[in-house]
Symmetry: D2
Subunit: 356 residues, 4 copies
Amino acid sequence: MIIMEKGATKEQVKDVIDIVKKHGLRVDVSQGEFLTIIGLIGDESRISFANLALMPGVKDARMVETPYKLISRDYSEPFIGKEQSRIVKVGDVRIGGDEPVIMAGPCAVESKEQVFRIAKEVKAAGARILRGGIYKPRSSVHSFQGLGSSGEAEAREALEWLRAAGHEYGMPVMTEVRGESQTELIAEYVDILQIGSRNMYDQDLLSRVGRTGKPVLLKRHFGASVEEFLSFSEYIVAEGNKDVILCERGIVPVGKGNSYTRYTLDLGAVPVIRRETYLPVIVDPSHAAGRRDLIFDLSCAAIAAGAHGLVIEVHYNPKEAVVDAKQMITPDELKDVIDASLRISKIINDYKKKSS
Amino acid sequence: MIIMEKGATKEQVKDVIDIVKKHGLRVDVSQGEFLTIIGLIGDESRISFANLALMPGVKDARMVETPYKLISRDYSEPFIGKEQSRIVKVGDVRIGGDEPVIMAGPCAVESKEQVFRIAKEVKAAGARILRGGIYKPRSSVHSFQGLGSSGEAEAREALEWLRAAGHEYGMPVMTEVRGESQTELIAEYVDILQIGSRNMYDQDLLSRVGRTGKPVLLKRHFGASVEEFLSFSEYIVAEGNKDVILCERGIVPVGKGNSYTRYTLDLGAVPVIRRETYLPVIVDPSHAAGRRDLIFDLSCAAIAAGAHGLVIEVHYNPKEAVVDAKQMITPDELKDVIDASLRISKIINDYKKKSS
Amino acid sequence: MIIMEKGATKEQVKDVIDIVKKHGLRVDVSQGEFLTIIGLIGDESRISFANLALMPGVKDARMVETPYKLISRDYSEPFIGKEQSRIVKVGDVRIGGDEPVIMAGPCAVESKEQVFRIAKEVKAAGARILRGGIYKPRSSVHSFQGLGSSGEAEAREALEWLRAAGHEYGMPVMTEVRGESQTELIAEYVDILQIGSRNMYDQDLLSRVGRTGKPVLLKRHFGASVEEFLSFSEYIVAEGNKDVILCERGIVPVGKGNSYTRYTLDLGAVPVIRRETYLPVIVDPSHAAGRRDLIFDLSCAAIAAGAHGLVIEVHYNPKEAVVDAKQMITPDELKDVIDASLRISKIINDYKKKSS
Amino acid sequence: MIIMEKGATKEQVKDVIDIVKKHGLRVDVSQGEFLTIIGLIGDESRISFANLALMPGVKDARMVETPYKLISRDYSEPFIGKEQSRIVKVGDVRIGGDEPVIMAGPCAVESKEQVFRIAKEVKAAGARILRGGIYKPRSSVHSFQGLGSSGEAEAREALEWLRAAGHEYGMPVMTEVRGESQTELIAEYVDILQIGSRNMYDQDLLSRVGRTGKPVLLKRHFGASVEEFLSFSEYIVAEGNKDVILCERGIVPVGKGNSYTRYTLDLGAVPVIRRETYLPVIVDPSHAAGRRDLIFDLSCAAIAAGAHGLVIEVHYNPKEAVVDAKQMITPDELKDVIDASLRISKIINDYKKKSS
């Protein structure tokens, strides 16, 4: 990390950047009103910070030993502020502010009728983003893999439905990119690219979706520590794309016997991530619980823990759903979740303001 | 489980119980206004349910295959109701009802002055139960083990302080029983016997505290599934003691690298336990987080998830504390936690009533 | 799974295949001397097995409910035998037979000299396959990512060195494919494509390497159950590529505090995998231990557990290595590992033959 | 840790010990031919090492920051040697030497006939220690808890059978102490006191069995790190009882889905423990696997990893066993396990001698 002096000239900044690039690293430049910070991307051990510190216009140059830097609150605090998170803007939706944003929709896009009907109903319940899976990651090659897996034509058709349904009801849309080769196709159609839990460790995929410049929602792997989660999110930001939304969706249960939920929702990760990074953090209670009767409780808890939003699987008739039928709630149930979330969020914000 | 007919006589009930005992099992009899249910304690495979079903006065007799039965909601629902939990009464405090109960105090009792001062301040902040450790479980034999470990005289002195401080400020008191041989001594002085996380699997200790008849707060082991937690709680109830409070306090983190918290709080366990059993369930955010700056967030989330209360470590000067200094909050911070908890609890109760 | 009658004609087999494909599934046909088995790839719930069973030439048609089928021992036993595994042939090396195959080489290919020198020395010690990383998966974007990450020209140069070193010393070579877009480039140069632990869940990558037709070594994810490991390996086999070698390389440690190894080697997985599938299974003690002083012990244990081979990181001067310096052993140490492995393997084989 | 000068007098040693005790700590004195080391037991932060270092006869006095000290190889190396472990002598059996010691017997003692017959057959197969459970720890209060749980008379009778069977066939005997109150009763009858996995964290129980002076076999908790395992073993040694045998018996599996074994055997723990402490370490493959067809493979692997012995559940007719029927092997199978173990052990010892 290199901090330039207040009056550093453009040439001085450029000279520093040139030196860094000559050593095979890339840079991330944050330009504030008074302050310029140059973050380094790559192996910092290849460069001499002592020499950099002597260059004209440089106030401070030091190695950062953490596995993530660009997303860290330390690095961004001069530009953002102590309690605030980065606002990721998608259409007219602002993710990362005081009001929680609810993303909702079917697990898998199944038909035009299905996605339009669900879009209409989740919008009425208060959702702001429409989600729906087209390429589904599955543990078994013998399970339904989403309409997108049948071929490009089928994928485009399903992407069209999703985009059109979002447009019709005024919601930006999100779907999952499961493999590198789907990236550009999906980026043509949707507003937020989702990386699923199973792919969190796939650094080449993260770099590729980062390069599209589109907002990315990154789900934590169900076996990853928070540190690993943040380290891998840095692969996206290292491509110059800071519009990353982090999503906690449950980790593998401990112990022998039944935990009664598919995964264990780690809500402590929410305030931790808010302190470690400036990225917004949301929660997916549907995949964590794997059962609809817990969605209300877990959603309220997530918001109370400080989450900037929720992603929830919704179906007008959950039993009909091809995938994840057990964890879908109805639009009516979604309405209660959203109402309660907004009420709890207001209480939490009272105390946050008081303490800051 | 044996369900007696509505008009079954006392003799008929006694005959059934006699048969069960002759096979080496014990019984738990629940006598409602109209209904008598006889729960069996022990290995049910040693008895013929077909024969029991033919006895006079017996309406239904069937084997229950789950590892816990007496605490299950199925078994108790005829007596309790669908949403309610058992109310554990301790002095004039009711644990398990609509209003969350906050238990607070120092990690370890260090001196008479310390425990009196903390008692006064947590009471003023809104706490209802005073907690303080006298026998401390520790990973290393070389760490401070609590005043009780110095000998019986020291243990009695510390227990006196705790009881007197509770009495002075109108709060029932709770401390941990770490080993079987401390059980009766501690039961002389305190209102709630706590079993710590490390001892959850110690079935002989659970049976022994169960036999005191005092309310027991059982903490989940940090490596135990919810099913194991509930199975082991049944060892207490099997002694005829239904005043058991279950406490979620965090499980071991997943993955490589830093999770930034000592343990991972499993708040999904709260609504799960409310659906599986009729026992009240509370949350300990202090040990889960291991850092004071997360206590507010985790407490709010716990209440939003449906917890019946919280146990929080408090010290007027956290840095002075001999054990767990990093996770203690001040009485002022406790006040905010309690205020926010009560406000969130009211919102949650609105929706619970609506849905029931 | 469809089993054809002994005398079924080619036309009958073709008719069955056509019906299956019409339902959107793919097939895997195993043709033995007397027996033809048609395995289905995809969602079997879309097809009527009752109807299939009525077709001419069909002896039995039934749904297989497990997440993996094609690799299961049940499915392959008619063709393979009870104790044997599939022999994956790479050049003149046979992986999966009685004699364990040792794969060795540097963690990362660093220079032509380095890879040639190591190739020479591991060959002399008894290794049969040369391994070396060119695209390195790393938790932090700020760590060295392997020579391949600098660009295609650099990748080709490093791949040339590896291939040439293997050729010079008579060893087939193996390197890791980290992202989909590297697949074809790497397949041009090497004999075995390795999928690293972090990418085990990346189904699109697995399908893509499967389609190259080259042998694939798949490492278990450090957070995956054996069932998940086997389910994901089926993504490769479903592309018609049965030359899959499974590799256990350690799972995340349990509990609080130091486990003294980077990962926990799950050697019980070795005999389990030998009973569940016909694929050969090998062990990587280097990444599991993360320290060189345990490599001998873990290697002996792996072979005693029934592993078909080992992958071991070796460097003539471990301290010099850019990545994983702590876990590399010297060629001299490798010689002891290989000698002891071959001696233990002979003992084990005595008992295996006796019991079969 | 305090190291006395070579010529230090008894009075000087006594003076140091007196000072230490005055600060509320206990001591462990190791007296070699030339060297006296005084280990401290308790909270070392209460004492000034600078002052101790100035006392007459003291060569070095320093705080040891690890959670275990008395069992560490550092502390004991002057007395033991680099590769050797402490030999725990039980009758004429030496545990911790070059030859692995096999402990075998039924999961639960069921009758006099059963224990005598199994004793005879495991002895013939080569076992050296007879094991059998009398107090069984169980996850459910509704499962069979062992004959000892029926009352003291029944416990004594079963203990008599076990002792007599061991005597008849020349084997020392071992059984589990499940709760503190059983300690002295069991110590009257058996040669080795076993602490089961579920009780590893029960420090009061560990101290109590330590005080009997009898050899103790301590099983690792299935959720404990190696560091925790070693830390808790120090509770026994701190009572002046160094005859502790550590036993790896499997940890909880990772991931979603089936691992195909009840627990995951952590064989890497074996060489780690041999490097960290001087205590002998053995392996229990029966509870780890939970299935008899893996016992041979896991036993061979354990010995190859350096284990000083094995504990194996054996029954002449496994299907008849009341508890753990699935994991018992027959005496004939045990014979193969022991033969292969001794052969592998010889190979391993060749290399150990060469490298030391």
